[in-house]
């Protein structure tokens, strides 16, 4: 439809040619007066009124369909805010979304299509780390800047890092740093790991294992849970036989919803301590109070007593009235702030040129107030991961309102939970090896 619109607006071919010649002459003459190339190039783009296409590579089906939907709404809200102010570099922002199906192969295909056919200037989105990795490989091949909004395998900013990729969520190691030591002290040393059998689960449990063992815990077993497991009875029987003090889970999406329901049915949440490395809001919203057991990590909560939070929640409710999820959670938040920061960086760079935008993002510092978190955040130039506040939470049995289901137990400064291994395994491509890309 968009391409049809462009065709209609272009007018008859001779007119188009005349206009092109005039535009070229105008661009050539103004170049003399407007200094550096990037400045007059941005002006030329604005003059053409070519929309800035942002590709939203987000799941609408599969294990992370619910989270994929929420991060898309977050990105769309940021895009709308920019469009209301006139867009970016004078260009209207146009978002296109394709379902990545929680499947890495689909992620590759969608990224390839968005870059080669839809002329996407940037790609944003992912919850599943395998999908994020697949998208980023394609993005790196073309040089297209890609924001991984919500997938948090430590490998995303470790061995699978790329010059064009920026990782927006806290990763499994950050959360493990925040939670493990205290859990050993409070709950005991005999641990079992319950791990979603894919890249995020493996690497998150690896980080948990390493920290737990370093602090004196014993990992009695690690049970791997294939993606889309719907019956956990054999795992729950095994846990009863193993009798651990702590079950540390790295299970996400629909799998964690089902696991929570089945754990409560047998009452195992009362017999052992449960830690869930990271609990995404769409995976817990709608569950009963008993099913929100254990301690878990998150990067944001809608009732943080911080400036801007209430206004942000109100903006969500205004833009998306009547939503089943009445208040935004961490996944929406990440989608929003990531998109907003990308568009700000483009504006500051004055161009959509990838190298210029990447340079604006590397080492970027963001204030706590701006991000509605407790501590300042920054983008690590060595790994491209956003270092941010990590919150530990549990179920709130003294809720102020219906949706107030989290009790924030602690907020940890990003510098206290840095993933020290990531810079050792991350080898960002050089700028020379990263193709120039500009739409």
């Amino acid at each position: 439809m968009r391409e049809e619109d462009r065709e209609v607006n272009a007018g008859p071919a001779p007119d188009r040619r005349r206009r092109s010649i005039v535009a070229a002459l105008a661009a050539g003459s103004t170049a003399t007066f407007f200094g550096p190339w990037k400045v007059h190039h941005a002006w030329a783009q604005a003059a053409q009124r070519k929309p800035l296409v942002v590709g939203l590579t987000m799941d609408a089906s599969g294990q992370y369909a619910a989270s994929g939907g929420m991060e898309r709404l977050g990105a769309m809200m940021a895009i709308k805010e920019f469009n209301d102010k006139g867009g970016v570099l004078g260009r209207r922002i146009e978002a296109i979304h394709m379902d990545t199906e929680t499947t890495p192969a689909t992620g590759s295909r969608v990224a390839e299509r968005m870059i080669t056919r839809n002329e996407a200037a940037f790609l944003i989105g992912a919850v599943h780390s395998g999908v994020a990795n697949a998208i980023s490989q394609v993005a790196q091949k073309y040089g297209c800047v890609y924001f991984n909004t919500n997938s948090s395998s430590p490998t995303e900013s470790g061995k699978d890092c790329h010059r064009v990729k920026f990782v927006w969520d806290g990763n499994g190691t950050n959360f493990a740093h925040a939670i493990v030591k205290n859990a050993i002290r409070v709950n005991g040393r005999n641990w079992v790991l319950l791990t979603n059998d894919y890249v995020w689960g493996h690497n998150t449990s690896k980080a948990t294992r390493s920290l737990a063992e370093a602090n004196g815990a014993k990992i009695a077993d690690e049970l791997l849970v294939p993606q889309n497991t719907r019956d956990f009875s054999s795992y729950l029987l095994k846990l009863q036989q193993l009798k651990p003090d702590v079950v540390a889970t790295a299970v996400g999406g629909d799998d964690i919803k089902v696991l929570r329901q089945q754990v409560v049915q047998v009452g195992l949440h009362k017999r052992m301590a449960w830690l869930n490395n990271q609990q995404d809001w769409p995976d817990v919203y709608g569950l009963g109070p008993e099913q929100i057991f254990g301690v878990f990590g998150t990067t944001w909560y809608y009732r943080l007593d911080l400036p801007g939070v209430k206004e942000f929640v109100a903006a969500y409710q205004k833009q998306y009235p009547g939503m089943a999820i009445r208040v935004p959670g961490n996944v929406f938040y990440n989608g929003y702030v990531a998109t907003r920061e990308l568009l700000r960086a483009v504006e500051e760079a004055g161009t959509t040129n990838n190298h210029a935008v990447i340079r604006k993002l590397e080492g970027r510092r963001m204030t706590a107030r701006d991000r509605m978190q407790h501590f300042d955040a920054w983008i690590d130039p060595a790994t491209h991961q956003c270092q941010q506040t990590i919150y530990m939470a549990a179920y709130n049995d003294q809720a102020a309102e219906k949706d107030d289901i989290f009790r924030i137990m602690a907020q940890v400064d990003a510098k206290d939970v840095v993933d020290q291994d990531a810079p050792k395994s991350c080898r960002l491509e050089t700028f020379e090896a990263t193709p120039t890309y500009e739409q």
């Binding site: 049970l223 019956d231 009875s233 054999s234 629909d254």
Partner: protein, 308 residues
Amino acid sequence: MIGALAPHLLNGLALGLLFALIALGFMLVVGLMETINLAHGSFFALGMYVALVIVAPPSALAGLVPLDAWRALPVGWRYATALALAPLVVGAVGMLLELMLRRTYGRDPLYGLLLTFGAALVLEEAIRAVFGSTEKQLPLPDALSGAVLVGDLIYAKYRLWACAFAAAAIAALWLFLEKTPYGAIIKAGAHDSEMVRALGIDLAKLRLAVFALGVALAAFAGIVMSPIWGMRPHVGVDAVVPAFLIIVLGGVGSFWGAVVAALMVGLIVGLAGAYASEWSLLSMYLLFIAVVTLRARGLAGKKSVLDT
């Protein structure tokens, strides 16, 4: 060793019964109508949501039914009503699909596949549009909630009930097909539809009834599985894949073949989950490959011309 293994064997059998319950309606439609209903999973999901409306009706229905009086009834009554009524409602929706499906009979099977696949997408999106995409929960009577001690291990009480429901549904369907004249007509229709027609039986009505029964069974399975698997619009996808695998493994058209296949799948998934957890989901596909490689028509499928 045996002591440690026993709970997993029992759990595997229980899991197998639940798999059989999920596959029953699918088996009926495939086996007796030779139509692969890819919307089976969506009817499974629809059953859950219709049951939710019955057990916990939304306030939007206030003008249509006496909500306060209904909500005042014990959950057990409302749950029992949902178990009986929701499959009928979903069965009626299934009838509409069968009416549309008629144009595909006698044609390339691909037409039927595409139609039911399209219906699955429409149903899933309709559920999402009406109920939203967030997780829902079916309220359960207290008598079915909680856990029981089996030996020194805890087992969910509801799971035992679900197995009982599954066993009852399997037995009822078998009795219906084997011991009633209607069952005889259905089986005869599958075996030689022309002869049945020649005997004056309306084949169109027969197919409509069988399809509705298959869909109603899918809805019943959905209601029973809802507290175990959870309720979300795309939950049907999780049901249709094992259902398809089980009926092919058991041999298309074989009632007991499907039940035995389901028990085998349950056992292997249960044991793999306990002792080689990363293989638990894959194990059912490996079993399928092994059986079909050695016996292409499945465990109890009819011998085809190619076998002779």
